[in-house]
Subunit: 110 residues, 2 copies
């Protein structure tokens, strides 16, 4: 249950390939930077088996400050939703779900 960083993966992938550590680092950094930039441009990113990054918009609404109980407007805001891909889902949750209607149940409750 540890934390893995970019540096950990750069070291490992440099070891697994014949590339220099700096080359691997630059490719991975360029990859992450490109994902951020594409999301910033409003695009979605689809990496087969891994997952999908896409923009989700939350409407403006009123909320209450729990300290002052004051009602405050929360402006509309964009955030990023990551949808888990097939292989990643299999890796983290190998138990199969038997009931075929379960996907729609899940969706309706989320």
């Amino acid at each position: 249950m540890g934390t893995v960083t970019k540096k950990d993966l750069v070291d490992r992938i440099a070891h697994q390939t014949d590339l220099k550590r700096a080359e691997v680092r630059d490719v991975i950094q360029a990859f992450l930077d490109n994902v951020i930039n594409e999301l910033g441009d409003g695009n979605r990113l689809e990496f087969r088996d891994f997952g999908v990054f896409e923009i989700r918009e939350r409407a403006a609404r009123m909320a209450q400050n729990p300290r002052t109980l004051e009602r405050v407007p929360v402006p509309a805001r964009k955030t990023v939703k990551f949808k888990v891909g097939r292989l990643m889902r299999q890796a983290v949750d190998t138990d199969e779900i038997e009931f075929t209607g379960i996907e729609s149940v899940e969706t309706s409750v989320d």
Copy 2:
């Protein structure tokens, strides 16, 4: 508002660096595979400024099939939560939020 794929980014990064397309492809694929494998091992991945991937467990519960109205058990299940990092958040939502209490409001409502 298009969709960007792994191939798109491989082509772009190969163009930006002096590496061969196949080398860039292998590094990115190794990166994505490593993320999946680490999550499968129960580890979290923290990529500064980009975001954090971590396992979230949902407890077993009862749900209702919306078609048959039958109550069905939903087994405990693990999924992946992606927490948006600082740079990604800034890229997708550049509007600053003025009210300093807003973070706690957001947290309490989510």
